[in-house]
């Protein structure tokens, strides 16, 4: 109960300082509006994404421009592009968010354990993150996704995407959390808790976790943008689920089915804009949150403006 009230108070203070930050507000707006579209998809369009739109003679309307079939025209198969876009938001955001959360959980888990206990566990973690840091991530993911699909394990393609993205992008979170835990565990209140006989589990839960939590949240928002971008990329390269098209899958279809040579800009522009919309929102939001919450960034050397020579006045 007490923890909850403290959290509420902290959130209230956070919101007060967040409110004044224009970049952060824009980011929040972008992310929330995309979420709203995903949730409200059935109410935003009368069509189903796989439904073929026909003209009065019963022929399918293929590559109909927005002027003929508002608001965003149709694709090569006569499907409504706007309907695909709003339903695609559900797929893109679900994959991105789930993958991001997996990365957050795995990263925080290993980060806290490695930072708190140190020793061989810490060594192992640092070496694993070193390896994952240098191996080019897209080829690795392509190989992994393709290999897992090849095994025909009865896992849906989207689940494979979520797992592969989530289990490869936890390293930055782990490193960040680890370095934070390293400094927290040296502080007085942790030594005192240990002196009165608190267990490791108690110290981690009551003293370490509340301190690193804000940092984890900020980092997760940043990871989300990466996850959404990489999902779109893998889907564009044909590794999405064609029966559940995300924005990346839409671009894959548009590119493969000659939307460009047919001049069907209404097919390939909107999905890309939607991806930029969400990932830009997450980056703005995440950067602002990180600035506000990351103790290592506050009191940054860049803020010591008094010391900077004003070159403009040098003459």
């Amino acid at each position: 109960m007490e923890t909850w009230q403290r959290l509420k108070r902290n959130l209230g203070e956070l919101w007060k300082s967040f409110r004044g930050n224009r970049m952060g507000l824009i980011g929040l707006g972008l992310v929330l509006s995309a979420l709203a579209v995903a949730i409200l998809a059935p109410w935003l369009t009368p069509y189903h994404p796989q439904q073929v739109i026909r003209d009065e003679n019963g022929r399918g309307l293929t590559f109909a421009p927005p002027a003929v079939h508002p608001p965003l025209g149709t694709d090569d198969g006569g499907h409504d592009v706007w309907a695909q876009l709003v339903y695609g938001a559900r797929i893109s955001l679900t994959v991105g968010f789930l993958a991001g959360f997996i990365a957050m959980f795995v990263g925080s888990f290993f980060g806290i354990l490695a930072g708190y206990f140190g020793g061989w566990l810490d060594n192992l973690l640092m070496r694993v993150t070193d390896v994952l840091l240098v191996i080019p991530d897209l080829p690795l993911m392509l190989v992994l996704v393709a290999t897992i699909r090849q095994m025909q394990l009865k896992i849906s393609p989207l689940t494979i995407l979520i797992l592969v993205i989530g289990l490869l992008y936890w390293t930055s979170t782990a490193r960040l959390v680890r370095s934070q835990v390293l400094s927290i565990k040296e502080r007085q209140f942790v030594a005192r808790a240990r002196a009165i006989g608190a267990s490791h589990a108690h110290i981690i839960r009551k003293h370490i976790l509340p301190q690193v939590m804000p940092l984890i949240v900020a980092n997760t928002v940043l990871i989300l943008s990466t996850a959404i971008l990489i999902e779109s990329g893998l889907a564009f390269l044909g590794l999405g689920d064609p029966t559940k098209p995300s924005w990346g899958t839409m671009l894959n279809f548009a590119f493969d089915r000659n939307a460009i040579s047919n001049g069907a800009w209404w097919f390939y522009l909107p999905p890309g804009l939607a991806i930029v919309w969400v990932s830009l929102g997450c980056v703005l939001l995440g950067n602002v949150l990180e600035e506000m919450l990351n103790p290592r960034l506050s009191g940054h050397h860049l803020e010591g403006e008094a010391h900077i020579v004003k070159l403009g006045e040098a003459e």
Binding site: V134, P139, L142, V143, S232, L237, I260, I308, V309, L311
Partner: protein, 289 residues
């Protein structure tokens, strides 16, 4: 195996069996096939591609230079413009130029590589009449390189532009924060006290020191650049390693896929090592460990 026989269902059982034996696929994956591959790799043999029926190393080598040309050109341009813009943004802090540079780099970061490629492809081919893909026009394939340079250049414009736009933002941001930091150093104050004008300070004292982080970023970025090459080569049907990788993936040509992955991973790791060594040479304050 499906890659070779999958599309040809009428292949008889005996032929299937002999193909399996030929590629060693009748043995268990672990340890037999794994050890066989490792032994081959150790002796420099990357195996034979299933779909192209040619040695993997030979195929990779024939595509390598195309990719190096594309990535190299894009990186050099991105670094050049990124450093200049970052220098200006860091120097003229909190002006419209600085804010504009920041917003540009954020948007560039949030834009999917392949989508920017698609847009530039559509715009460039519709309004500027630029080629829609490939490295050379069909009639120029096979001619000596120096006779077709203008054609090559025209084909390179759009893919290079895509790479440059996307990677410029990051170099700019790094350069900006680096120059801001450098300008707060004591030796800049000394230079100012000596009565040097602002260009001399910026050029002789600030730029050289502020360039250091760029070296690390170039190497770290290489993995990121490889991803960019896969997307861009796919969009522009550019005949390099990235497109080869994507083809091997869709054709389930595993020896080719393994070989391409090995080449990409090793080159990124080697580049990182070189950057570390270069860094200790450039900055005497960093000691090699």
């Amino acid at each position: 195996m499906r890659a070779v026989i999958g599309r040809n269902v009428k292949i008889s059982a005996e032929v299937q069996q002999s193909l399996r034996e030929q590629f060693g696929l009748d043995k268990p994956v672990f340890p037999d096939q794994f050890l066989m591959t490792m032994k081959q790799w150790a002796s420099g043999n990357l195996g034979v591609s299933w779909s192209l029926r040619r040695p993997v190393a030979e195929i990779l080598l024939s595509k390598l230079w195309n990719t190096i040309l594309l990535i190299g050109l894009g990186q050099v341009l991105a670094i050049f413009f990124g450093v200049i813009l970052g220098l200006l943004a860091g120097w003229k802090r909190k002006t419209a130029l600085d804010t504009g540079a920041l917003i540009f780099s954020l948007i560039a970061w949030a834009t999917p590589t392949f989508w920017l490629g698609i847009i530039l492809l559509a715009a460039g081919s519709t309004w500027l009449g630029l080629p829609t893909g490939g490295i050379l026009s069909p009639q120029n394939v096979g001619k000596p390189l120096y006779t077709v340079l203008p054609d090559l250049a025209v084909h390179l414009i759009l893919p290079t532009l895509t790479l440059t736009i996307l990677y410029l933002g990051e170099y700019m941001l790094i350069m900006r924060s680096s120059i801001v930091e450098t300008l707060s150093e004591d030796y800049i104050l000394t230079a100012k006290a000596k009565g040097l004008n602002q260009w001399q300070i910026l050029w002789r004292h600030a730029l050289k020191n502020a360039m250091l982080p760029i070296v690390t970023i170039i190497a770290l970025n290489l993995g990121f650049t490889v991803s960019g090459a896969i997307y861009i080569e796919t969009v522009f049907s550019y005949d390099g390693l990235g497109k080869l990788f994507q083809t091997a993936l869709t054709k389930q040509d595993y020896p080719l896929l393994q070989g391409a992955f090995l080449l990409l991973a090793v080159s990124v790791i080697v580049a990182n090592m070189l950057a570390d060594i270069l860094y200790t040479l450039l900055d005497p304050r960093v000691k090699a460990t």
